[in-house]
């Protein structure tokens, strides 16, 4: 298209910010829905096991956690829950910051704080799940 026809496209209109067109927002939108679906199973299952099944919270102690994490299945369950909830909740918080931060600098620093906290929790959580030592108490 020539420059001339581009100007005729929208005469006298105010500027809109430069287009930022990639599929990031599309994938992030899709991720929120898919991770949400997975979280229904993971979180509700988790809550059921921890709070309702048998004696609920009363039976939870170091040995109980150690017993569950002895199985790679529950290790994977908790790992998936950690990563999905962090990325889902983090991406949700990103949206909220985009919405409510009024100044670009506030927006930038809030997002940096958010990303740092996501990275920290993911790192610590993953480390614990993989390096958990059931013999520490004994």
């Amino acid at each position: 298209m020539s420059a001339e026809s581009l100007t005729l496209d929208k005469p006298r209109s105010p500027r809109r910010p430069a287009a930022r067109r990639n599929n990031f927002e599309l994938y992030s939108w899709l991720f929120m829905r898919l991770s949400g679906l997975a979280l229904v199973v993971l979180v509700l299952g988790h809550l059921f096991i921890m709070n309702i099944l048998d004696d609920g919270v009363h039976r939870i102690n170091f040995a109980f956690v150690a017993g569950r994490w002895a199985s790679p299945f529950w290790q994977f369950w908790d790992l998936a829950m950690l990563w999905l909830a962090q990325l889902h909740g983090g991406n949700g918080m990103r949206t909220i910051i985009e919405d409510y931060a009024r100044k670009d600098t506030t927006r930038f620093w809030l997002k940096m704080l958010l990303y740092a906290s996501i990275a920290l929790i993911l790192a610590v959580g993953t480390l614990v799940i993989f390096t958990f030592d059931p013999n520490i108490a004994g």
Binding site: S13, R16, A19, E25
Partner: protein
């Protein structure tokens, strides 16, 4: 929504307004702003006669004609078709020419109060008059016109009824901005294209005669495009034309997601 403040100014002399038989007195509160004198908007109240069959627009015209000629608002057709007189009436976006007084009457014998404020999210220029330019900028940005490549056809561009049906709903838009200025995302992020622009993109994206769908979908895939929509349905509630606005937005998302129109 604009909230009542205790600073409503003293009563205005509304005795010049003709009070036809069967009329009752209602209080119209208008969020007024004159950029030449006021630092911020303030409420003013007018006790005016109204028939149950009057529209809110009639009352505003009476105030302008008989009480204060400086009261500013847009209106043209007065029949819900030009899209000029969108405003917040009792906190919701409506066309003043389509809201009947009888639907706003207070229960029992209580005095009816009708609050009128400008639509939200666009700069208030004077009284109910807002700067619509950001709204139309987003509209223009989605190329709301038929795009067809190749030679001009020698006859009409034929379309089946089923193909026409796909975008029938979105042809009804009158660009009143009720939807976009009811959208919480637009309030906080003025660069969001907003529901009206997406509705008008939808009108061409799903038109079988149009060849610009990909261009428009690409435009709406922007950071400020359809993915900003949070499906709160404010826009659908506000649309005076009854357009299923949120559904249209979801159809655009779907087209982007599955790369298929």
């Amino acid at each position: 929504m604009a909230s009542p403040t205790p600073t409503d100014t003293a009563a205005h002399d509304t005795s010049q307004i003709p009070a036809p038989e069967g009329s009752i007195t209602v209080t119209v509160r208008v969020l007024r702003f004159n950029p030449e004198f006021d630092d911020e908007p303030h409420w003013e109240s007018y006790d005016v006669p109204a028939l149950p069959t009057d529209r809110v627009l009639n009352l505003l015209i009476n105030i302008k004609s008989y009480v204060d000629g400086t009261l500013s608002f847009r209106r043209s057709c007065a029949h819900g078709i030009c899209g000029s007189d969108a405003m917040q009436i009792n906190g919701v976006n409506r066309l003043a020419c389509k809201v009947l007084i009888k639907d706003l009457l207070a229960k029992g014998n209580k005095r009816t109060t009708i609050s009128v404020a400008p639509i939200k999210g666009l700069p208030q220029m004077k009284d109910l008059y807002v700067d619509m330019e950001p709204f139309f900028e987003a509209f223009k940005a989605v190329k709301p016109y038929l795009i067809a490549y190749g030679n001009e056809p020698t006859h009409e561009r034929i379309q089946s009824q089923a193909d026409r049906e796909r975008f029938d709903d979105t042809t009804k838009c009158i660009l009143c901005a009720c939807c976009t200025t009811s959208c919480p995302v637009f309030w906080s992020d003025g660069s969001y294209f907003g529901p009206a622009a997406i509705v008008n993109a939808h009108r061409f994206i799903f038109d079988s005669r149009d060849e610009g769908s990909e261009e428009r979908l690409d435009i709406l895939n922007d950071t400020e495009g359809v993915w900003r929509c949070r499906t709160t349905f404010n826009c659908t509630d506000a649309c005076p034309r009854g357009i299923q606005v949120t559904k249209a937005i979801q159809e655009v998302k779907q087209a982007l997601l599955f790369k298929r129109v």
